[in-house]
């Protein structure tokens, strides 16, 4: 009998193709959006996690917290800010850790007629080791460079190509000066002269070119320029502050403990003020998981709404169908259809809509996910790895959800049909 009911359902649906098709469209769009949204979020997670892991392993990151105006007033005169001394002190106190201080400078680098504007990183020899990023030719910044504020520079692969083409840059001279906002300011009518004098241009010697590393965490590592941290402070910053620190912990299991100890150590050094953040990769991954969960919730919510709207479409059309077929229901009841037979008949019809819609929706969703993934990849700088990731579970979830919507929203019309009074239904006009 189930087979007969199912054949009836198909026949009824196909007898009104346009209507069934439009109703299905609601489910198709709903299921497709569930799959596409999930695939995009999934893809984002894969991309972010792999980006973080590309940074290197067992890493801790230290940077300063932005204090509020009140806090700054309250703590005035105390030893705040992250300084080069902090890095040195950590090295003394925790000899096992490798510490690389980092200063980021907006600068411009010039070799003859060619130039490049971008970020210049002041750091120490440890950086190369910590980030697992080594020179392909020449050498990285050495201890002597740090001690003598040497004006030596290590170029990323892309930079070397931009400035020197196919020539080997090793031993060549480049000029570095501050770029970006500071330079714009110097072009203003009043402060022009003074700025130019203090900033100036400095000659640097290229001592190495890095091996290609590709992109990580939204940053193209082949576009990096390294100078000794002390040189950066002396020539470009004029103070002993540093922007952040990257620290390598030898034992993965001690990450949490070291993170905590380091934090306490720095607070102590900063006269008891907690103006720094210490994060390990695990926490980054945790934060990403949270962000992704939020995204999943929001996007999933939107997709769910789309699917629910599809469900309402089903309910709407089923109510119309029940009304149209009142006489048929009356007749069926008169000749022996039980309530559950009628219920099943209409439930199977609405479920058939959602199952067929679900199947098409899966196909459309897969296409949409790939299309959208490509779009994201193209629109994001360095986002080339963000592809849609379609998990089988996502497909199953979307499909089951669609079927549930078909049953859920079909239930009310089906119950309505099954409860019709046979005598009245037979004579319904």
């Amino acid at each position: 009998m189930l087979g007969a009911i199912f054949r009836d359902a198909l026949k009824n649906l196909s007898s009104n193709m346009l209507r069934s098709g439009l109703t299905m469209l609601g489910v198709i769009i709903g299921v497709a959006s569930v799959i596409a949204m999930m695939a995009i979020v999934e893809g984002g997670q894969v991309w972010l996690v792999s980006s973080i892991e590309k940074l290197g392993t067992n890493l801790l990151f230290v940077w300063k917290k932005r204090l509020t105006i009140d806090e700054r007033r309250m703590f005035a005169g105390r030893n705040l800010q992250l300084r080069y001394d902090d890095a040195l002190a950590i090295r003394n106190r925790f000899p096992d850790l490798k510490v690389a201080p980092v200063i980021d400078i907006d600068g411009q680098i010039k070799a003859g007629e060619r130039d490049y504007s971008g970020r210049i990183t002041g750091t120490s020899p440890e950086y190369s080791e910590i980030r697992n990023s080594h020179p392909a030719s020449g050498r990285f910044i050495g201890t002597t460079d740090i001690q003598t504020w040497n004006r030596s520079v290590v170029l990323g692969k892309t930079i070397a190509e931009v400035l020197f083409g196919t020539q080997s840059p090793i031993g060549k001279e480049v000029k570095i000066f501050l770029g970006g906002r500071k330079r714009k300011k110097s072009e203003g009518p009043n402060g022009e002269k003074k700025e130019q004098e203090t900033v100036g241009e400095y000659r640097f010697t290229v001592i190495g070119v890095m091996e290609p590393k590709g992109e990580a965490y939204g940053q193209d590592r082949d576009e990096m320029i390294f100078i000794p941290v002390t040189t950066a402070q002396r020539f470009f910053k004029g103070n002993d502050k540093i922007g952040s620190m990257i620290i390598h912990v030898p034992d993965r299991n001690q990450m949490e403990e070291v993170t905590h100890k380091l934090h306490q150590f720095l607070i102590q050094r900063h006269d008891g003020v907690d103006d720094i953040r210490v994060r390990n990769q695990g926490e980054f991954l945790g934060a990403i998981d949270q962000t992704i969960a939020t995204f999943r919730f929001v996007l999933g919510g939107i997709a769910t709404v789309a699917l629910l709207v599809g469900g309402i479409g089903i309910m709407n059309i089923m109510l119309v169908t029940v009304t149209e077929r009142t006489r048929e229901i009356g007749l069926r009841k008169a000749i022996g259809a039980r309530r559950q037979d009628i219920l099943l008949q209409f439930l199977i019809e609405s479920t058939t809509i959602s199952v067929i819609g679900g199947c098409f929706g899966i196909i459309l969703g897969i296409f949409a996910a790939h299309g959208f993934g490509n779009m994201v990849a193209q629109s994001m700088p360095g986002g080339g790895d963000w592809g849609a990731v379609i998990k089988p579970t996502a497909i199953v979830v979307a499909f089951v959800f669609a079927v549930a919507v078909g049953i859920g929203f079909g239930l009310f019309p089906a119950i309505k049909a099954s409860k019709l009074d046979p005598a009245e239904a037979l004579r319904y006009q």
């Binding site: 008169a334 022996g336 259809a337 039980r338 046979p422």
Partner: protein, 236 residues
């Protein structure tokens, strides 16, 4: 006694107005009778049909059909009784569209739980009996009114009901087709089938061997012509 209606009342309440559709009605019908229920519109014929057909329950009174005390039974059992003991024939045929004659006749058999093969065998046999052996795959819109009503008769007979209940069976037919239908009724009656037919047409009622006339929900007249009769009909 196949049908016993004992002090049946049926009151419809629509808003504030209560309509006394059946008023203390008492009717008994024996197995094998061919009864016509006659009355003008508003006389209670349709209400009586609904109650006799187990489509609705009386407001009060007792109704026995084929040994079942109908007014005490729940909905689910009424469904079974309609399926097994009653065959309905309607003025407007009530065939399902998008279904062939064969499929329409199969329907009560399906609800009775017969297998597909059983349904088809029985439906073919019934359609042959009403002379539609070469119209089995036709859909209702491909059949004439008379043919549609014959499909409906085949469907009504599907589960060998104790009672054939016809509501103005010739009302939508021309006189020739109508006559064909009544001839089938005569034949069935001759084979011992109990038939209750509702009609407003006294001429058609003449074909029955008992005529009950209703007025305002009461029996106005109950006359039988000679009970032995089904004369001409054996040969059709």
């Amino acid at each position: 006694m196949l049908i016993t209606l004992h002090h049946i009342n049926k009151i419809y309440t629509t808003g504030e107005v209560a309509v006394h559709a059946l008023d203390d009605l008492n009717i008994e019908i024996e197995q094998g009778e061919f009864v016509a229920i006659i009355g003008q519109s508003g006389s209670g014929k349709t209400t009586l049909l609904d109650i006799v057909g187990c489509l609705s329950q009386p407001t009060s009174g007792d109704y026995w059909l084929h040994g079942s005390h109908i007014n005490t039974l729940p909905d689910s059992e009424l469904t079974t009784i309609r399926n097994r003991k009653i065959g309905f024939i309607f003025q407007t045929f009530h065939l399902l569209p998008r279904k062939s004659a064969l499929e329409n006749v199969q329907l009560p058999l399906m609800y009775a739980g017969a297998t597909r093969a059983q349904q088809q065998d029985r439906a073919q046999e019934l359609l042959t009996r009403v002379g539609l052996q070469d119209r089995m795959q036709h859909h209702s819109n491909q059949l004439s009114g008379g043919q549609q009503q014959r499909v409906a008769i085949a469907r009504a007979l599907a589960n060998q009901p104790a009672l054939l209940l016809a509501d103005e069976p010739t009302g939508n037919l021309d006189s020739q087709s109508g006559n064909e239908i009544l001839t089938i009724f005569d034949k069935l009656h001759g084979q011992g089938q109990t038939i209750v037919m509702i009609t407003h047409d006294p001429l058609i009622a003449q074909r029955a061997n008992r005529r009950i006339t209703l007025l305002d929900g009461r029996v106005l007249a109950d006359e039988s012509t000679e009970p032995q009769t089904h004369p001409v009909l054996q040969e059709t």
